[in-house]
Every structure is written in structure tokens, then in C-alpha cells.
């Protein structure tokens, strides 16, 4: 077999470009490089940047005495040959668990303790970077940022556990096993409580947006194109916008229509934030996934929202399924940034969403019975079922908006991501369990972002969840 050194990994426009003249299998690919399996127990990680190869190598060298580190066998300017673990990740291993087994809690605490002792600044690891060998021995991969990022508290680990509803179980174990560690973590979270009134705005127009320290990422519900949403109390959340213009636009809509039942209650506003009602319940897309037929009441309530929008003078008439929440106070809808600044007479995104769920015909049938005039209005022209066709019907009002509608980059969708690990970019992570071995980058703090920026990692930056765009 040809030498793995003949494999070339370079940065492409959206993803890495790989030229692999060898027979070595690609087992993972991340932002920093790609991983190829060399044998049953070894793999090579080939980096696009020698700097990152060196960073990880230094960390690997510093951790060779640690039992949970992969062994470093060989290295070169742009590669490191390390252990290959043919084992489930901790995320897979804990699948369906409703509590953290004591043995795992102890091993995780040991790992964190050892990392701290070894003076790593990144005392943290996402579940997908931890492998569980047959004897339940844990191995931790991806150490590129071991000395670059500063996570004194395992923010990623806790956030991942929280997604699986295992955080409380883990913390309860930590409290018993290592009370001092537990207190330190609590103190850290208390010191880093979200202060939404004092979050700096980055006016940069390239989508970089507001930077929020990852220390508060535990309360992040979701980050999207126009803002990020954080839970601030039992019944309140705050949406923070990178662009004050977006904030103004949405505030205007929300405050003018507090009387409409589907508009979330607003409690407080600032230049770049709106504190609003926390909506508890599934989004309508999630709900409909579990339905074999479209319940007529759903059509009725959707129609009510759309009719109210029209009557209230909204320019954009739409209710994408992921923006509608099924609460025990009725249907509520989020994301109104463009309600006044885009002219759209038919709920095109809703049509597309319902079509994807297989319910568009049923919906139109039900609307025909409930409101024949609206049905006639909606169906006098064919309903566009692709984004491109739909865009032709949407008119941006000059001066009111600054960007083209981007599907899937909004609060609703991303909010969902925060709740369910199987969705959004988290789902992508799920899919790439094997990639993790390839050292898929783990997006985090400001320092790293700046470096990423230097390296022109636009694509990667978009994936960051603890940042507001």
C-alpha cells in the first residue's frame, strides 16, 4: 500500500479536499484535518495546517503519561500517527441511559483531574471525543486546543450530558464523589451568570456578530442567523441580536401586537435584546413528525395565526412549522424580524414544511372547508415547493431589511437544536461519530474564534453554537 504521506488534505471552499492515492480508509474528517485508518490499532490524522498538527502533537506529548491519552507513534509536519480506537463513543455508550453509572462518573472525574494536573487549560471534552473500550476504559481524543482554550469547568461535557438529560445525574454524583470540585463548578457558574444587559454588540457586517462567552453556554437555547436565545428564568428567555436593526425590527412587531394570542409576551427590551416569554412545548414540526394524519385543530390554529397576521397588517404572511410552538397556552410563534419588511402574501414556507411532512394536501382541504376565500386566494396560482420558486414571490422592502431570506438560520430552528441533540448541527455531529476521531473541531471561546478568523474559517464559524450571529 502506498505511503500515507502521499495523502493530501487541503482546505476546500466548504469542506476539506482530499487526494488519497492510498488504500487507507478515511474514517473521519473535521475542520482541522482528516483521519485515515492505518491498521486495526493505528490511524493517522493529517492536518491542513502544520500549526495545528504541532499544537496537537505538543498536547499529545504532554499527555503520553496519561492512561486515557492515545499513544503518539510517529509524526511529521502535517500529521500525527496515534492509536485507533474501534469502540463506541461515550455518547453512544450512554444511549438510553437515564442516569450516569457511578463507574463512568468516577472515570470522567479522574480524567478531568488528570488534565488539570497536567496543566491543560482545556479541562473539558465533548462526549463524542471520549471512547469507551471493552473494559470500560475511557480514551480521549482531539487535543488540538488543550493549551489554547480555557475551560476550567467541563462546559462541553456538561452541555452534552444535559442534552441527554444526564447532567443532573452527573452533578449529583460529582457532589458526592468530589464535593470541592462540585463547589468550584457552582462558583464558576455563579460568577458567569448571564448579564444580557451588558453584552457587547459587534457591528461587523460579515455575520460575525455578538460574541458570548462559552461560560454561559449552559443556558443557551439556540443560536441562529438573527440572534441567540438564552433561558433566563423559569418563564423568561432573552433573545440577543448581533444587529440592532434586527432587534428594532422584531421589537417593533412584538410590542405592537402584544394583544395577539400567538405573539410571545415581552417583558423587557434593550438595544440588542428582548426578554420574552419562554415557550414551553414542542415546535409544530417536531409534533407533526409523530402524527399519522394532520389533526384538523392544527389547521384551524395555523389558519388563525395567518389570518391574524393579515388583519394586524403584517407584510409577511407565514408560519414556518419550526417557528410555531405548541404550548399549553395555545400556538405561539417566534421570529418576527421580517414581518414588516418582507412582502409575502401566501405562507410559502409553511406550505413547503407541510409538503415535507406529507400534510399539504390535507391542510389545504381543511382550509377550504374552514375559510374558502383564503383557500381560493392561496391556490389561484400553483404553490411553489422549492426555495428558489418561493423566493420569486417574496419582496424585500427597501431599507427595511439587509439580507436575503435564509432558510434554516432562524431562532425557531436553532432553538430546537438546543433542545434535541438529534437535530440541526448536533445531528450532523451524531452522524459523524466516526469523524470525531478525525479531530473534528470543537467550537468554543473567543480566543479560538479570533484564530479561526485569521485562518479564514468562515464555514466553521457558522457552526458555532455559543455565539450569536
Amino acid at each position: 500500500m502506498a505511503d500515507f504521506k502521499s495523502i493530501k488534505v487541503t482546505k476546500g471552499i466548504k469542506t476539506l479536499e482530499i487526494d488519497n492515492p492510498t488504500g487507507y480508509h478515511l474514517i473521519g474528517m473535521g475542520a482541522q484535518g482528516a483521519v485515515f485508518k492505518l491498521s486495526e490499532d493505528r490511524c493517522v490524522k493529517i492536518y491542513t495546517s502544520p500549526l495545528q498538527a504541532k499544537m496537537e502533537r505538543e498536547a499529545l506529548k504532554a499527555g503520553q503519561h496519561l492512561s486515557f491519552f492515545p499513544r503518539l507513534y510517529e509524526y511529521g509536519d502535517n500529521y500525527n500517527v496515534i492509536d485507533y480506537f474501534n469502540a463506541p463513543t461515550l455518547k453512544e455508550y450512554l444511549r438510553n441511559c437515564t442516569y450516569i453509572p457511578e463507574s463512568i462518573a468516577m472515570k470522567l472525574l479522574d480524567i478531568l483531574g488528570e488534565m488539570k494536573k497536567a496543566k491543560f487549560t482545556m479541562v473539558d471534552a465533548p462526549l463524542r471525543h471520549i471512547f469507551v473500550l471493552e473494559n470500560e476504559e475511557l480514551k480521549l481524543i482531539d487535543h488540538v486546543n488543550a493549551f489554547k482554550r480555557i475551560h476550567p469547568v467541563p462546559l462541553k461535557l456538561l452541555r452534552d450530558l444535559n442534552m441527554m438529560l444526564l447532567k443532573e445525574s452527573f452533578l449529583s454524583r460529582v457532589k458526592k464523589l468530589e464535593p470541592k470540585t462540585y463547589e468550584m463548578w457552582q462558583a464558576y457558574f455563579n460568577e458567569n451568570k448571564m448579564d444580557y444587559r451588558n453584552i457587547p454588540v459587534d457591528p461587523g457586517g460579515d455575520g460575525e456578530g455578538v460574541k458570548v462567552d462559552s461560560a454561559i453556554s449552559q443556558t443557551l437555547i439556540g443560536a441562529g442567523h438573527q440572534g441567540a436565545v438564552y433561558r433566563v428564568s423559569e418563564n423568561k428567555c432573552v433573545k440577543i441580536y448581533p444587529k440592532t436593526q434586527h432587534c428594532e425590527q422584531e421589537k417593533d412587531v412584538l410590542l405592537s401586537h402584544q394583544d395577539l394570542s400567538f405573539i410571545p409576551k415581552v417583558y423587557e427590551t434593550g438595544n440588542n435584546y428582548v426578554v420574552m416569554e419562554y415557550l414551553s412545548g414542542p415546535d409544530l414540526n417536531t409534533f407533526l413528525k409523530k402524527q399519522s394524519a394532520l389533526p384538523p385543530v392544527v389547521s384551524k390554529l395555523l389558519l388563525k395565526i395567518l389570518t391574524s397576521q393579515k388583519q394586524a397588517g403584517f407584510k409577511q404572511i407565514d408560519a414556518p412549522l419550526r417557528h410555531v410552538f405548541v404550548t399549553n397556552n395555545g400556538f405561539k410563534m417566534v421570529d418576527h424580524v421580517y414581518s414588516y419588511s418582507r412582502i409575502q402574501k401566501r405562507p410559502l414556507e409553511l406550505f413547503q414544511n407541510l409538503h415535507e411532512r406529507g400534510f399539504l394536501d390535507a391542510f389545504l382541504e381543511q382550509v377550504k372547508v374552514l375559510d374558502p376565500a383564503t383557500h381560493a386566494e392561496w391556490t389561484k396560482k400553483p404553490i411553489p415547493l422549492t426555495d428558489e420558486e418561493a423566493q420569486l414571490e417574496i419582496i424585500n422592502i427597501e431599507g427595511k431589511t439587509d439580507s436575503k431570506r435564509k432558510k434554516g438560520k432562524d431562532q425557531g430552528k436553532d432553538r430546537d437544536k438546543g433542545r434535541d441533540h438529534k437535530k440541526g448541527h448536533n445531528r450532523d455531529r451524531d452522524r459523524s461519530q466516526k469523524r470525531e476521531h478525525g479531530g473534528k473541531r470543537d467550537n468554543g471561546d473567543k480566543k479560538n474564534r479570533n484564530r479561526s478568523k485569521e485562518h479564514g474559517r468562515e464555514n466553521d464559524r457558522k457552526k458555532r453554537s455559543d455565539r450569536i450571529k
Binding site: 455508550y93 450512554l94 444511549r95 438510553n96 441511559c97 437515564t98 442516569y99 453509572p101 457511578e102 463507574s103 463512568i104 438529560l165 443532573e168 445525574s169 452533578l171 449529583s172 433561558r231 428564568s233 423559569e234 419562554y278 414551553s280 412545548g281 414542542p282 415546535d283 417536531t286 409534533f287 409523530k290 402524527q291 399519522s292 389533526p295 385543530v297 392544527v298 405548541v326 399549553n328 397556552n329 433542545r419 434535541d420
Partner: protein
């Protein structure tokens, strides 16, 4: 009125809703793990909450003035342990079928259960069989209260067995291995020639749907067999009315999964349909062989075929079976009585604190 937090798997009519919402003398909060577990809109009300959305357990419990937590499955009891620790509320955990087995259970399940047995105040297995199992796992006997699930007798009024001569055999249950539908189909095939008028109807959906269809083809069951899936729970009583014989061929699945006492058996027995089932898990606690119906060995095609034949040839026994079965259900499986018993168990626990 004391308030109980109930956690079940889904907001779904098939998920023992009366045991959450209709306990005499107890108000409820209906908790599910995450919003995605709401599958039924009519059941969504202001008392439905989400575990993942609780910001502060202490404040939540204070605000809602909760006295007790009831997890309706073993795994949910495990999940709620930290919540219990933080709020100091007593925790009751129900055990149903698979909960007391290692079937598809996650890593560390038994160890977790042992901690739960230590920390939880009460355990409500749905039959003696499961009570015995969790006791063997380490659950102290004094914490165990068997709580049979009840059926709404108003929904399943008694009617005498059909003695007209039709031979419609019904089975209802999810299409999963432990329900044993495949055994019933094979047994049915064995008697089909002798009883050309006999039909077999299986009602249920699930992972084995494809297999059940292909088995029907392979056994050449033809029009004497039908599979009805996606039947709403509300239509079950009516369909049940068409049955001459009800069969629940339950068995221990290859992964160890077992039943408690299938509700469909209770419903058929309440309706007055002669039942035929297996000596599996909690089923002998409701059916005494040749008294309330017929029991056969589980996973035994020939034994089941013989029993089907016996049942079809001995219509004179049906009335006795049916009357006895109805009495059994009225005594031990009447929903109203069982909900009252559940309330009594809560009283006992809360009164003793």
C-alpha cells in the same frame, strides 16, 4: 388537595392517562421528559410540563406545591432521582413489563435500579410476577405494593359470549415479539382445515408488521387472516365486540422482554369474550386455567393449536369462562377500584412522613 408529579413516557392516550389524571383526592402535574414527547393535542393542558424545561427544581416544586413524585416506569424513576434529591420529595416508581428485565436496557441499569431501590420510597409493580422479580433484584419487600392496572368497565360492558356459530379469533397488541402473534398464526394454520369458517384478526402496529404479513403469506392464511393496524384506542371496544375468542399468546422475547398483564386480556375478559392465553409473566394472576379461560405453555404452537381447537369445540364452556372472567376483572382490575387503591398507597406514604 395534594399534588403529585407524574412522569410517563408520552402524552398519549395509550399511556395509562387515568393513573395520572384521575386519582381520587390527588391533583396532578403531568411531566414528560422533553416537549417532543407530546403526541396528542387533546391531552395537552396546563398541567403538562417538561422535565427538560424545569429551570429550578426547588422553585418549581414550591410554586406548584407538590407532595410526591410518581415515575411510571423504572427508567423514569432513575431519571428523577436527582430531582428527588434536590427537592426531598418522596418518589414512587411503577414497574411495567420490560422495566423488570434487562431487555434493551442501557448500561448500568441494574446498578442504577439498586440505588433507586435504596432511595425510592415505594415501588408499584403491575403484577406479582414483577414484584417477585424486583424483589430478587434487591428491592425491599416492604417498599413494594402491587398495583394492577385497571380497565374502565363502562367502556367494556359485559355481553354474553357469542354462541351463534361464528369462529372469529382476535388478538390485540403491538407487533413485537413478546406478544407472540407469530405463534398464534402458526397455531391457527394448524386448525384452519378443521374449522374452515374460522378467521384470525390481529389488531396492532409495530416493528414486526412486515414479518407478520410475510408469515401470513407463507402460511397461506388467505382471507381467513387480517391484520388491522393504526386502529385508534377508542375503536377497540367496538372491534372487541366482533370477537368470539380472544387470544393473547404472550411469551418471553429473545432479548428477555416480558409482559406484565396485558390490558387487552382484561378488556376481553370484561367484555365476556372467552380468553386463551399463556402461562407467562403476570397472566396466571388474572386467568386460572379452565376457570376464567384457558392457559397454555408460552411459545408452543402445538399446545396453542390444541387449545384453540378445544375452545372452538366446547362452546358450552364459554359462558362459565366469561362469567368467571368478568367477576375476576370486577374484583381486581376495575379501574375505579385500582385508582382508589393507588390513592390509598399515596395516603399511606404521605401520612407516614
Amino acid at each position: 388537595m395534594s399534588k403529585v408529579i407524574h412522569m410517563n413516557l408520552r402524552v398519549d392516550p395509550t399511556q395509562y392517562i387515568p393513573q395520572i389524571r384521575d386519582i381520587p383526592g390527588y391533583d396532578y402535574l403531568h411531566l414528560v421528559r422533553q416537549p417532543k414527547y407530546v403526541v396528542n393535542l387533546p391531552l395537552l393542558n396546563k398541567k403538562v410540563h417538561y422535565y427538560s424545561e424545569i429551570f429550578s427544581p426547588k422553585k418549581y416544586v414550591e410554586k406548584h406545591n407538590v407532595s410526591l413524585i410518581h415515575a411510571h416506569h423504572g427508567q423514569l424513576g432513575l431519571l428523577l432521582q436527582p430531582f428527588k434529591e434536590e427537592t426531598n420529595l418522596p418518589l414512587v416508581t411503577s414497574f411495567r413489563g420490560r422495566d423488570a428485565t434487562l431487555a434493551n436496557q442501557p448500561v448500568g441499569y441494574v446498578d442504577g435500579m439498586n440505588r433507586l431501590f435504596e432511595q425510592g420510597e415505594r415501588f408499584f409493580p403491575v403484577c406479582q410476577h414483577l414484584a417477585h422479580r424486583i424483589n430478587l433484584w434487591g428491592c425491599p419487600a416492604d417498599k413494594i405494593r402491587v398495583l394492577y392496572g385497571g380497565v374502565d368497565l363502562n367502556l367494556f360492558p359485559y355481553r354474553s359470549p357469542n354462541l351463534q356459530g361464528t369462529q372469529n379469533i382476535f388478538s390485540i397488541g403491538r407487533l413485537v415479539e413478546k406478544k407472540g402473534h407469530h405463534i398464534l398464526m402458526q397455531a391457527f394454520e394448524k386448525i384452519k382445515a378443521k374449522f374452515p369458517k374460522a378467521t384470525l384478526t390481529i389488531i396492532g402496529g409495530g416493528e414486526l408488521e412486515g414479518y407478520i404479513h410475510s408469515l401470513a403469506t407463507q402460511l397461506n392464511l388467505g382471507t381467513s387472516f387480517r391484520l388491522l393496524n393504526r386502529v385508534p384506542k377508542s375503536q377497540i371496544p367496538e372491534l372487541m365486540g366482533q370477537a368470539d375468542i380472544f387470544c393473547a399468546p404472550s411469551l418471553t422475547a429473545s432479548n428477555g422482554d416480558i409482559e406484565g398483564i396485558p390490558n387487552t386480556i382484561k378488556e376481553a375478559m370484561a367484555t365476556g369474550i372467552p380468553v386463551l392465553s399463556t402461562n407467562h409473566a403476570g397472566i396466571p394472576e388474572i386467568i386460572t386455567n379452565d376457570q376464567d379461560g384457558i392457559l397454555v405453555r408460552e411459545n408452543d404452537v402445538d399446545h396453542l393449536a390444541q387449545a384453540l381447537e378445544f375452545m372452538l369445540l366446547n362452546r358450552n364452556k364459554w359462558e362459565n369462562y366469561a362469567v368467571s372472567a368478568r367477576q375476576k376483572v370486577e374484583k381486581n382490575f376495575d379501574q375505579n377500584k385500582q385508582l382508589l387503591l393507588q390513592a390509598n398507597y399515596y395516603d399511606e406514604l404521605l401520612g407516614g412522613l
